[in-house]
């Protein structure tokens, strides 16, 4: 696929003797939403963390929009990270800064925007997730779901071309999961390219263009959601889905 925004070839990550990601190929085109599911410890989080080099891959290549990132190339990495936003399981808002300061810090410090412009952008983004009135609040004043919505728009403030979500709802209490998923659905509708690691099968079914099933550091099966959930081909996928869907 030549028009792929993200192209991963034979990606490997080893921790000591243990290889956690064991040769993954994946192409993601502009505007595509890819949801990665799989059992705990299957390497899906490690995989997604390799995509913006929070983990340095042990082997293989990641090409994002024509920029190849192979292990140890710091400059390519720098350029790449600015185009890739990431949302973590535990929000990771900076606790000593207001919501507004959290959102404007990176765009201003990296010279992407002037402060006034960054603040205007931040307010617009907060509006979209219904949190404009919390611009001056500190993270400790927000619920988990609110914090995660801020974390999402903080990443969007950098105007990324690709958004990575690493189990964004796993740490939330059930009541606020819906708010966060709605924001992500909205984002998908607007055409953002997204890779989402999640246990939310409902979200995968509804929003994903393609669902990727991970096990033992490998892609076992990848297909559109109706196909993967209704007629999975691999025995391992069938077994996993039988367990999570009851």
């Amino acid at each position: 696929m030549s028009d792929a925004l993200l192209s991963v070839r034979d990606l490997r990550k080893r921790f000591g003797e243990h290889e956690v990601v064991t040769g993954v190929d994946l192409d993601v085109v502009q505007g595509e939403v890819v949801v990665i599911i799989g059992p705990s410890g299957s390497g899906k989080s490690t995989f997604i963390r390799c995509l913006n080099s929070l983990e340095a891959p042990s082997g293989g290549t990641v090409v994002i929009d024509g920029t190849t990132v192979s292990a140890g190339d710091a400059k390519a990495l720098d350029r790449l990270r600015k185009d890739v936003g990431m949302v973590f399981q535990d929000y990771t808002l900076f606790p000593h800064m207001s919501v507004m300061a959290n959102m404007t810090l990176a765009p201003v410090k990296l010279g992407r925007m002037k402060r006034a412009e960054a603040e205007e952008t931040a307010l617009k983004l907060l509006d979209r997730v219904g949190l404009r009135h919390k611009a001056d609040a500190y993270p400790s004043e927000l619920s988990g779901g609110q914090q995660q919505r801020v974390a999402i728009v903080r990443a969007l403030a950098m105007k990324p071309r690709l958004m990575l979500f690493d189990e964004p709802t796993s740490a939330l209490d059930p009541e606020t999961v819906g708010d966060v998923l709605n924001v992500m659905k909205e984002l998908a509708r607007e055409g953002m390219t997204m890779i989402v690691v999640t246990h939310e099968m409902g979200f995968a079914r509804e929003v994903a263009d393609r669902v990727v099933f991970f096990d033992a550091g490998k892609v076992v099966e990848a297909a559109p959601p109706t196909e993967l959930f209704n007629t999975p081909k691999e025995a391992r996928t069938q077994q996993f889905l039988a367990n999570v869907l009851h």
């Binding site: 936003g85 808002l93 606790p95 990176a106």
Partner: protein
């Protein structure tokens, strides 16, 4: 035995000179020692090769030798290898190096409490390591390490009285010097005890203000 208050009033100008010297030297040294603490703490945090080992060696050396020996080493020892400093700067250097070693440990302790997620979030936002350290890690760490840093600053202020041993005219030197001629030991030592207590109280008060300010974002938890 009587306590002559008038004597103290009479000696006040001399005592005030001593206080001012103590304050000058201490405040400068508190500033320098915090600087040493931040730089040393960063070196330890990022585990910079070689520099990290040097910092460890420095901290151990300072913490395991008497401050008086360190002072004599600077004032009497260094001139022998052509590094002579004035009385004043010998005093500032000694206190800065002494407290700096403790501030490194204080700030390192604070940095250790900063969650790993903060570093990852900073990296995901493309912030540079120096931006992460100055804008994220250090402000979070300072809040945690403030009580320990204040203790070190208070110890520094009290330890400034060692500087009388090399003849710097700070508060204790003034008192001892007066006693040698006037034999009013109880008055003088009472007076400087009260003065030291007051200086420490002011320092603690200012730190309390700073602490309350840093606590603002967290008061809802």
């Amino acid at each position: 035995m009587d306590f002559d208050v008038n004597y103290l009033i009479e000696q006040w100008p001399a005592l005030l000179d001593g206080v001012l010297m103590t304050l000058q030297v201490s405040l400068l040294a508190i500033g320098f020692s915090l600087l040493i603490g931040v730089v040393g703490g960063a070196i330890r945090l990022f585990r910079l090769p070689l520099l990290s080992q040097i910092v460890v060696l420095y901290v151990e050396l300072i913490r395991n030798t008497p401050i008086l020996v360190q002072l004599f080493f600077i004032f009497y020892g260094l001139p022998a290898v052509g590094l002579g400093l004035s009385l004043y700067w010998s005093g500032v250097l000694c206190l800065s190096l002494w407290a700096g070693a403790y501030q490194i440990e204080n700030i390192r302790g604070g940095l250790a409490t900063v969650e790993r997620g903060m570093l990852e979030a900073s990296r995901a936002l493309s912030l540079r390591p120096t931006q992460y350290f100055c804008l994220i890690a250090l402000p979070i760490a300072v809040r945690t390490s403030l009580p320990a840093s204040l203790n070190t600053a208070i110890s520094l202020l009290k330890n400034s009285s060692y500087l009388q041993a090399i003849g710097l005219a700070e508060l204790t030197f003034v008192a001892v010097d007066r006693i040698a001629t006037d034999f009013r030991a109880i008055e003088m030592f009472s007076a400087i005890c009260v003065i030291y207590l007051s200086l420490v109280a002011v320092l603690a008060l200012l730190t309390g203000r700073l602490s309350a300010y840093l606590q603002r974002p967290f008061q809802h938890q």
